[in-house]
Amino acid sequence: MSATVDDRPLLSVRGLGKRYGTQVGCRDVGFDLWPGEVLGVVGESGSGKTTVLDCLSGRVTADGGQVAYTKADGSVVDVRRLDEAARRRLLRTEWGLVHQHAREGLRMNVSAGANVGERLMALGARHYGRVRARALDWLARVEIGESRIDDLPETFSGGMQQRLQIARNLVTEPRVVLMDEPTGGLDVSVQARLLDLLRGLVEDLGLSAVIVTHDLAVARLLAHRLLVMRGGEVVESGLTDQVLDDPQHPYAQLLVSSVLQP
């Protein structure tokens, strides 16, 4: 392959599985995530897409499988085998996690600025002025005005909270970001703004991301590649526009043909 196409995936997932009692959360899920690539995971509620994300982040312990991650220093670790402290460190440094409900990813009892600055300080930044300046810079990038830096997230709208959560995650410049329905529950005008923001950030920072969404329009605009899930399994995968315009699997065809075209 060509020089600009890296040879090693950032994330290589194989045979990921999770059962909840007799219920299948996900089964034999595998994919590679390449540097600079956005992978969309689509499917209806209960298809297992959030379970996959939770297994990756370690929020849920998978029953089996491998999550090989190539760290910034070039070493490869199986994220599933990291101890709790190492996993938490990874989530604070090289990975970011954006929850569907912003309040799960924010600390609601500290200011917007502190929410963003906290992750920097967790990595050892101590100079107050510099932390505040970086926080301000990131608030501006997600279009939150300087005047709001000392306000509590509680006073923000849903869309602003989501943007704050994104700033809190990206301030430490993670290499991989996991997002669960990042535009879910937002008004469409707010969604559009967030989509535009996410796409710009992904392009400018060369981020890699796994984005779980049930919204195929969001997937089309953000993801390079798609996994279609049903009943805990990946039934189809491929280039985003190919999967959406020429789906092969009966379920993928049903999913695409069921969407209302505005």
Binding site: L221, G238, D246, Q248, P250, L254
Partner: protein, 232 residues
């Protein structure tokens, strides 16, 4: 593929509609054609013959299992059929441009940034990309007052010109054009004709669908029909 920048060999495409009783539609069967640098091959079949399907199959928008789609990419030959997605994306970023009949964009993104997008994706610096985007919008006669607005609310003809602009701004070596002049007024049509001729002049290989007889006469070096390419 001696000399050709794009070569299709024995391409077949069928759709199986599982949602509609498993009906199988065979659209293309054994299409072969080649386009050399500087050539513009225009497909002249009537509507419904599968011309758009061919362009989408070449672009990787439709999944092909039978045949080859060979493209000269970064000084080697890539077969788009069976290529991994990120290689297909690399070909699209650097080599293969496609003017579709529809404009799909993120709402709220200004037109000038939509047009600069392909250059930015290739790593061209923001100001330079924007400059080239604006120059292209001007050539395609999109009024300057519209550049900062999203094209979502533009008229059909304006959207079509934005679509043309964001492909031609990137000067791809291989171009797929699906009715690039449909719904355009005479002056805009002329601007597109000039862009196609310029592209040929710098050595681009162009495969297009053009129904307008006058435009076809002005841009085509070869006129083919799918029926003939299938028989060949």
């Amino acid at each position: 593929m001696s000399g050709a920048a794009l070569e299709v060999r024995g391409l077949a495409k069928a759709f199986v509609l599982h949602v509609q009783g498993g009906v199988r539609l065979a659209v293309l069967d054994g299409v072969s054609l080649a386009v050399r640098p500087g050539e513009c091959v225009v497909l002249a079949d009537p509507s419904g013959a599968g011309k758009s399907t061919l362009l989408r199959s070449i672009y990787g928008n439709y999944l092909v299992r039978d045949g080859q789609v060979l493209i000269r990419h970064r000084e080697r030959v890539v077969d788009m059929v069976g290529a991994p997605p990120r290689l297909v994306l690399d070909v699209r970023r650097h080599t293969l441009g496609y003017v579709s009949q529809f404009l799909r964009v993120i709402p709220r993104v200004p037109t000038e940034l939509v047009v600069a997008g392909p250059l930015r994706a290739r790593g061209v610096e923001a100001e330079a990309a924007l400059g080239r985007a604006r120059a292209m919008l001007e050539r395609l006669r999109i009024p300057e007052r519209l550049w900062a607005l999203s094209p979502v609310t533009f008229s059909g003809g304006e959207q079509q010109r934005v679509n043309v602009a964001r492909v031609f701004v990137a000067e791809y070596p291989v171009l797929l054009l699906d009715e690039p002049t449909a719904s355009l007024d005479a002056a805009s049509r002329l601007a597109v004709v000039e862009l196609i001729r310029e592209a040929r002049g710098r050595g681009a290989a162009v495969l297009g669908i053009v129904h307008d007889a006058q435009v076809r006469a002005e841009v085509a070096t070869h006129v083919r029909t799918l029926a003939a390419t299938e028989a060949a």
